[in-house]
């Protein structure tokens, strides 16, 4: 079996606090993998390991290895930009920059050195098409992004990411700031995107995990308690703690 992303005994400390302990998880390419678990169990922390965003926080120590396409995501500044280009993140709250729609989507390509007008416009259009925003926004490219409704803002954030043509999309509770209808639309979009991208989604909404993902991991207190096919995790969990959680006995 081929894996896109894989961790080997991944551990992480915030100072003295152990936030991840011996996490071994393997993420399949072109599929949606969900990470569920109660608040504070380390889901976001795990996600941030995949593109090394935790390194921005003071006092973080990691152990173990992370493999992307079978190769170690190494330490040090070398390859960091390249890694972040390949592994992108969508955050909980829609957070477009206070710039125009166009400048938001063009941000990534520009950062990576694309400045030619025609190329840039093509990249922006492609990225907006990827999230089905092009038709709605093609006449509003100069409009301020913060003026868009929440769902479009979140789509725009995904477009902004798509514009750097990543391979993996990390989504940290991407729907928690959206209403149910917008949530449904974003889930549809995720299924669409999963044909091209490897998606890892963190959610504390179990129905959402069940709806969109093919595999699910359940975390508790920094440990990956159980990982397997989503159907198995929800219908037939092998660990007592997973069962308690998916049947709603934890909050």
């Amino acid at each position: 079996m081929e894996y896109k992303l894989r961790t080997e005994n991944l551990g992480l400390h915030y100072g003295d606090f152990c936030a991840l302990k011996d996490v071994n998880i393997s993420i399949r390419p072109q599929a949606i993998t969900a990470i569920i678990g109660p608040s504070g169990c380390g889901k976001s922390t795990l996600l941030r390991c995949f593109n090394r965003m935790n390194e921005l926080i003071a006092g973080v120590r990691t152990s173990g290895r992370i493999l992307l396409d079978g190769r170690a995501v190494h330490d040090g500044a070398a390859g960091l930009t390249q890694l972040r280009k390949r592994v992108g993140m969508v955050f909980q709250r829609p957070n477009p920059f206070p710039l125009s729609v166009f400048d938001n989507v063009a941000y990534g390509p520009r950062v990576h050195g694309m400045h030619k007008g025609a190329d840039l416009e093509a990249a922006v259009e492609k990225a907006l098409r990827a999230t089905a925003l092009w038709d709605a926004l093609k006449d509003k490219l100069r409009a301020p992004a913060l003026g868009l409704p929440a769902e479009q803002q979140q789509r725009l954030c995904i477009s902004r990411l798509a514009a750097v043509e990543p391979e993996v999309l990390l989504m940290d509770e991407p729907c928690s700031a959206l209403d149910p209808i917008a949530t449904e639309h974003i889930e549809e979009l995720m299924r669409e995107l999963a044909r091209r991208y490897t998606i890892v989604i963190v959610t504390h909404n179990m129905q959402q995990a069940a709806r969109v993902s093919s595999e699910t991991g359940f975390m508790l207190l920094g440990e990956l308690v159980e990982f397997g096919l989503t159907t198995a995790i929800f219908k037939n969990p092998s660990d007592k703690r997973t069962e308690d959680y998916v049947t709603g006995r934890y909050g």
Partner: protein, 278 residues
Amino acid sequence: MRASPRLTQAASLGLMWGLAAATIGVLAFIIIYILAHGLPHVTWGFLTESPRSMGREGGVLPMIVGTAWVAGLAVVIAAPVGVATAIYLTEYTREGRLTAVIRFGADCLAGIPSIIFGLFGFVFFVITLGMGLSIVSGALTLAVMVLPTIIRTSEEAIRAVPQAYRDVSFGLGSTRWQMVTQVVLRSALPGIGTGIVLSIGRSISETAAVMLTAGSALGLPRTAFDSSRTLALHFYTLSREGISMPNAYATASVLILAILAVNLSAYWLMRRLAAGGR
């Protein structure tokens, strides 16, 4: 007997309104008083001619030019240094002894009376560096004087930029420099601009510090190394030495209008900049 809550409420509200009105009233009175005495003498000639017989006759063109030079140069020098310091303090270093020292230094500078800056400028720029009484000496002195304001307002504006923008920018693979220049500074621009405008206003109206550094030459300055009298100093001299009260008021009016113009155009500019992102 106790006052009823309603009465207290009404009384305190009234008091606050009164105080606010008094504040605005005093301000309005000063401005109107000066403009009323000065504006009638602000003619086209007053704005475009050089002073004659120490300012009893003629206009204030050299002072307008000198003020623009000194204040403009001061801010052109102080703004990049101040903003760069603020960026360093907020984005490039963790809180520690160094940041504490820089911040403490800036706060101390902010509390020093301007005559001390004037003295420093006189000893350092005018004498030691041999720049003489000149526009550069004045501008450098004012730059040192307004630096703390620019640092602290920029710092606050930069800190107010949501952390999410930084995370996203890094997440897209940007370097710190790209993140700072393309996201943080753009979002913080209105706040940074406010600090710069305050500094322009302070530079335009500063008297003591420029008296000791830019000198009080009456002629039209030709280069930045000429001495030049600013509007504020001219006003001070005209009234202090009893040369011409009408011209003193007229000069003060020009000064007030200049500051008003700077503030209004900055306000307009800032609204446009902010609108670009909202």
